[in-house]
Subunit: 251 residues, 2 copies
Amino acid sequence: MDVPLHERVASELRRRISSGELPVGAAIPSESHLCEQWGSSRGPIRQALATLRAEGLIGGGRGKPPVVRSQSMPQPFETFLSFSRWVELMGRTPGQRTLEIARRPATPETCDALGLAEGEPVVQMLRLRLLDEVPAMIERTTFVWPVGRLLFDFDCDSGSVFAYLSRCGVDLSRARHVVDAVGADETDAGLLGIERGAPLLRERRHTSSASGAPVEFSDDRYRPDLVSFTIDNSQQAHPALLRSPSQGETP
Amino acid sequence: MDVPLHERVASELRRRISSGELPVGAAIPSESHLCEQWGSSRGPIRQALATLRAEGLIGGGRGKPPVVRSQSMPQPFETFLSFSRWVELMGRTPGQRTLEIARRPATPETCDALGLAEGEPVVQMLRLRLLDEVPAMIERTTFVWPVGRLLFDFDCDSGSVFAYLSRCGVDLSRARHVVDAVGADETDAGLLGIERGAPLLRERRHTSSASGAPVEFSDDRYRPDLVSFTIDNSQQAHPALLRSPSQGETP
């Protein structure tokens, strides 16, 4: 057995947290319970708990028992492009209501984002995304024509557009995400059931092929009480990005 | 010469963009100008421009000349902890006004974040951060006592607290950042010169030592018209996180 005991204990607790077996707010088994379960002294158990605390998965101090604070785990690349896949990986239910899918001539802003000449056709999609049936995000996506046209043969309410386009052989290898905050406009407010001007977490995404050819540009606006983004980094490791459900107050 | 021409052209343009020699909004030299400068045919020049476009550094379509869209470059770890260092790397001027630095007993929320017993002392700092003398961010940081006490011997208006603590030998190896959006409260609005409720980009950061011992917890709120976060990822590479100045409208 090469994996040190404290790492095995940490892994097992991570699995129980990510699966929801230990949900957010739940108490972690006591040190003495864990010692008994693993036939271990307190040292490795405490080290495992310190690791989970540093990862932000558990909270609680020396004075009180640790509780689960976050279910967020490092996520594979596809979950940055696919809201459906991300929600499924959390064991929750994704949903969508497609409000519009339209062919239009590219505007100057779209030309700039997608490297098109003015007037070339693009496909624009407006979708409301649901997390366990709660309106959580509004997606405004513009596709270059050769990709967007594929969507007219797809029921965008049936599931992941990303998965569908991947099955069609579309190369969606690279993405750049710019994250900021924006006040809800009329459309956002109406669809998300919040007040106009309420703060939303905005992700603007450019997706391109491996060789850098633009594929889509999206403006996604999340209710910050439902979704946040988490980034881990260290002097040793590359940063990892996570998108997380928030535990904040309603906006 | 092993580096392909298109990569050398891309590197040189990246350097001119990051140094500000080609500022945001500036036109990139024309294809024919670049061909002449590099003694190259159009192929490698176009490939270099496609790379920069995929990186989000330049915009503009086939119909119009490419312009610089962003100055953001991959940033070293320390710039995620040090606002001063990040601003300096962009060639701009950081500043700060320390509004409060106080020793207090830990609140329940702080205990949870830093793994402390209730009533243990912590050091709390409230600072307004400036970007070229413009109020850009409000920092509310709580340090564990053994680290925070070092700040009473430091002039927090003189520069980077992170650099000072590193010089004192404090281990700040790991960080987790949770990014969301929040409406400006009374303090935020007054200090940043914006309206109450205006959307702010919030970063909550937990920093710990290499072994996972909590060091500080911070709630940083940025004007989204001045700062945003950028994340790059691909199916091949680890995601990289950038913090970027925004080119949006004022809130």
